[in-house]
């Protein structure tokens, strides 16, 4: 069966954040606790997360924000170049997933539809998957003691539905479907944009991290959208760091053998 995924065409994203809310609605996620604080005279906590970074106040993905819309203002001083880019980010469901590779307890699994999700009943909350993700997707929630991230709406896609964010997206910027079909669509859109003069337009995610099941059409370089140009899946380097460490261990062993032998012999042979 083909992997399911999403194609995010950022050129038609209006930055409305419907995807962020629709995700929370379907997945039962609360407001991000760190965005709210107690205020005297009120029985509820009040939002205090104004960032001043364009219209982006949620700032990053977290255990309760599985989607995050970025706002990039590109204006020169006389406004002859004026562009405001929007892009909705989420877990990319990498085919070579750092989080899954790092999980010591098989809480992070890949299903038959290619999506990577955290089995909440298995996760022990060691948090090692968090730094293992090259995209900063997965995050810990104090309230559950476990990590959370986008599941690609595991329940929906295994019941024949699309993801909640794609369903809500008013402009079709987020499209859900079979990855090969989405790629065809992405390629066609890229050709269309290039013809219209968007020279820097590019597709991000065909090769990165073993191929991303959630991939993007950007109008500018990936870094502009906060995505690494060449993301490295940490475990791809594992054999090198292991090797160097073993070498160090051998060196120390040899050193110890020499250090203690010297003294020992001196004493033994008066």
């Amino acid at each position: 069966m083909n992997a399911k995924g999403m194609f995010v065409d950022t050129s038609i994203c209006t930055g409305c954040k419907a995807c962020q809310v629709a995700c929370k609605e379907w997945n039962g996620l609360s407001g991000e606790p760190s965005h709210f604080a107690k205020k005297a005279g009120y029985p509820y906590r009040v939002a205090n997360n104004f960032s001043g970074r364009s219209y982006d106040n949620t700032q990053n993905l977290s255990a309760t924000d599985w989607r995050h819309v970025r706002f990039i203002e590109q204006f020169n001083a006389d406004r002859s170049e004026a562009r405001w880019l929007f892009a909705s980010d989420s877990c990319k469901h990498c085919n070579n997933a750092g989080c899954l590779n790092a999980c010591p307890v098989q809480a992070i699994v890949r299903t038959d539809l290619g999506n990577v999700f955290v089995k909440q009943e298995v996760c022990i909350g060691c948090k090692y998957c968090i730094p293992a993700c090259p995209y900063g997707v997965i995050s810990f929630d104090q309230r559950t003691g476990t990590v959370h991230k986008c599941t690609l709406c595991n329940d929906r896609i295994h019941n024949g539905l699309g993801t909640a964010c794609a369903k809500a997206c008013p402009t079709g910027s987020i499209a859900f479907g079979d990855v090969p079909d989405l790629k065809m669509r992405a390629d066609a859109r890229l050709v269309q944009l290039k013809k219209l003069g968007y020279e820097k337009a590019n597709i991000y995610g065909y090769d990165e991290a073993g191929g991303l099941n959630v991939f993007y059409l950007f109008l500018d370089k990936p870094e502009v959208y906060g995505q690494p140009e060449k993301p490295v899946v940490p475990q791809d380097r594992l054999h090198i760091s292991s090797g160097v460490t073993v070498a160090a261990a051998i060196a120390v062993a040899v050193g110890a053998a020499i250090a203690f032998r010297e003294r020992g012999e001196k004493k033994d042979k008066p």
């Binding site: 990053n60 993905l61 590779n101 790092a102 010591p104 307890v105 098989q106 996760c123 022990i124 909350g125 060691c126 948090k127 090692y128 968090i130 730094p131 293992a132 993700c133 090259p134 995209y135 900063g136 997707v137 995050s139 810990f140 929630d141 104090q142 003691g145 476990t146 870094e223 906060g226 690494p228 060449k230 490295v232 940490p234 475990q235 380097r237 594992l238 090198i240 760091s241 292991s242 160097v244 460490t245 073993v246 070498a247 160090a248 261990a249 060196a251 120390v252 062993a253 050193g255 110890a256 053998a257 250090a259 203690f260 032998r261 010297e262 003294r263 020992g264 001196k266 004493k267 033994d268």
Partner: protein, 304 residues
């Protein structure tokens, strides 16, 4: 290169960095002790014994630290049987998974070595423990010393590999050197811990002291060298390690107090003979503290 947006795991330094430190000391000590036993340096039998007496109690602390940092401590057993009791699980791409198993094996070996020492000195009183000792007494000591020494090194080093195997700018940027750094640091602290314990009991023979120093010095120099290489490799990603509180801990604590001061003291003492007990205690304490600072700084800076 590194991810621009990777997230910090928010590990608490007093659990994780201290685990790295204590595990390192234990493993380093055990390694020295077991190596002496394996190579048959009978003269240093006291060193071996001191090492085993240090290694096991220290390693007993570590699971507490590790489990305490889990979001769901009651599920720690998933590390071994994530598919349910009876079904053993290990993830070979996860240093954490493999390291946990290594820690388990190492704990067992260090326990047996510890029992041996106790029996040898006639200090084992508990009948149950005696029984355990008898069960394994047919096994040559060198077998589990060898296994323990292998996994001990694993315990000392995997924590560094674990940090390298992430997308955090500092940890990934210093790849592949933290593992090696932790290995040499574990070795020097292991030796320092042995020296400290023996000196306190005034059981440190001058020759032994000299042997330990002879071991420590090149290791500490290597440690310095690895630090230099690591910083060079990391480039701008090393900034968090060199600035702020982490910078103070790292440069002032780990490098200055933990490496340069002990090296200097030992160097000055060499003019005469080995340091005397009091001096050894102070120097060793510096080494140990420096190693703790090193790990705290690395863990904290990597998360900032």
């Amino acid at each position: 290169m590194m991810a621009l947006e990777s997230q910090a795991p928010h590990w608490e330094w007093y659990y994780i960095a201290l685990y790295f430190f204590i595990g390192g000391v234990s493993a380093g000590a055990y390694f020295i002790g077991s190596l002496i036993e394996l190579l048959g340096y009978e003269k240093h039998r006291e060193v071996s014994k001191a090492a085993y007496r240090i290694a096991f109690p220290l390693i007993c602390i570590t699971p507490v630290l590790l489990i305490a940092d889990l979001g769901r401590p009651e599920r720690f057993w998933h590390l071994f049987f994530s598919n349910g009791p009876g079904s053993i699980y290990t993830n070979h791409t996860s240093p954490l998974s493999v390291g946990t198993w290594a820690l388990l094996v190492y704990s067992g070996m260090s326990f047996l070595s510890f029992l041996n020492v106790q029996v040898e000195d006639g200090r084992l009183a508990l009948p149950a423990l005696k029984k355990v000792h008898e069960m394994f007494s047919r096994l040559p000591h060198k077998v589990y010393a060898a296994i323990g020494s292998f996994f001990g090194f694993f315990v000392a080093g995997y924590t560094g590999v674990l940090l390298n195997t992430t997308a955090r700018p500092l940890w990934a940027g210093t790849d592949p050197w933290i593992g090696a750094l932790f290995i040499v640091s574990a070795a020097s602290t292991g030796a320092a811990a042995i020296a400290l314990v023996m000196a306190r009991r005034q059981a440190l023979a001058p020759d032994t002291a000299r042997s330990l120093q002879t071991f420590e010095q090149p290791v500490m120099i290597a440690e310095l060298a690895i630090i230099v290489v690591m910083l060079a490799v990391a480039g701008r990603y090393a900034v968090p390690l060199l600035t702020g509180l982490s910078g103070v801990l790292f440069l002032g604590g780990a490098v200055l107090l933990g490496l340069l001061v002990p090296l200097g003291r030992q160097f000055m003492a060499r003019a005469g003979t080995a340091e005397r007990d009091g001096g050894v205690i102070i120097t060793s304490a510096f080494i140990l503290a420096g190693s703790a600072f090193l790990r705290i700084a690395l863990v904290q800076a990597g998360q900032s």
